[in-house]
Symmetry: C2
Subunit: 205 residues, 2 copies
């Protein structure tokens, strides 16, 4: 079964609908999703941005909020604009990286739901602990693991990997052959590409 | 029949596939397209950009060129990367605005084809004259009209309209109810919205 890497950042607005629908669409296509949490901050820093481009460029920001509202409507996803925006996502990214792979999708969706559906403060340790408990994880043990030196270093390495790949933003979908598709609205194209990749390989066998 | 405004800039890479497919898709949906040539330069200037963001931010540029190549492949559109990029589009934008409405789509497609399929210099007056002749227009008369003070002022007014609308880039599709959809990959969503708009209105009659 072909694998598609789903690169997401918890502060990324378009990553919210992507995270909520990627498993269902990939399942229908017969593609396995690998959840790859990362941070956009280091990439934006390199581009000279010290804030979300949606705050730096208000015209793009206004467009994005309206567009996101429409997308959530069309997917019947609840939507509440985070305040402040962006939320600090260092802690949740560390937890998402540290958590067992089988719990990563559920934890990630719980964070997006708290942030973009319920307007909760996802940088708050107590909120994160609550989300962890709700998905059946040992919250304190997980937070401890998330903040270990090893896990902090691992997240830095992941961000370096995103930089080397040349990810232009989030969400990104990356096929096994290295094709990058940027944006929630490119998920279908990414799945199609992932499937064609496998077909070419299978044809060679 | 609902009307969808198609806002395009001749230097905009994603406007190329949009211009080549908008009429066919709109026709299938029963939507009338209104071609609205404009310039991104004045909007970018306000954002502080003196060059294409794809040049200013090389990571986005690299992604865009690969993505555009894939999109053109999938639509069986020939593709040649313009050199230099971006091309100066002041003259072609003026011509596209001055030309009779019935010739505007054909002229616009001819410019995109020259620029992105054949790698020609679309800022060159002789090239523009040739494209005009090919679509059956009186090239010299049209160039004269394009460069008249009235038409130059009209293009400035169009760019001001784009700014007031809050267009975040190109291409954009704008419905009669004022909904903006940004990007070639949002054409289908824009057509769906335009159709739903009409349905609501018709329901009121």
């Amino acid at each position: 079964m072909p694998v598609l890497d789903f690169w997401y950042e918890f502060a990324s607005t378009y990553s919210y609908p992507a995270a909520m629908r990627v498993e269902a669409l990939a399942g229908q296509s017969g593609v396995t999703v690998r959840w790859r949490p990362f941070l956009l901050g280091p990439l934006f820093f390199e581009a000279g941005w010290r804030d979300s481009p949606f705050n730096i460029y208000p015209v793009k920001g206004r467009y994005m909020w309206r567009d996101l509202e429409r997308i959530c409507d069309s997917l019947s996803l609840p939507f509440a604009r985070p305040d402040p925006f962006p939320q600090s996502t260092l802690l949740v990214a560390r937890v998402a990286l540290a958590i067992e792979e089988r719990l990563r999708p559920a934890f990630s969706r719980a964070v997006y739901d708290a942030e973009f559906a319920k307007g909760r403060a996802i940088a708050d340790r107590a909120v994160v602990a609550e989300l962890l408990s709700e998905i059946g994880a040992d919250a304190e043990a997980m937070l401890g693991r998330a903040e270990s030196p090893e896990n902090k270093a691992a997240l830095k390495a992941v961000c370096e990997e995103a930089k080397v790949l040349g990810l232009p933003g989030a969400p990104c979908f990356v096929t096994e052959s290295g094709e990058i598709f940027w944006g929630n609205d490119r998920l279908k194209a990414a799945l199609d590409w992932a499937l064609r990749g496998e077909t070419r390989e299978e044809a060679r066998r």
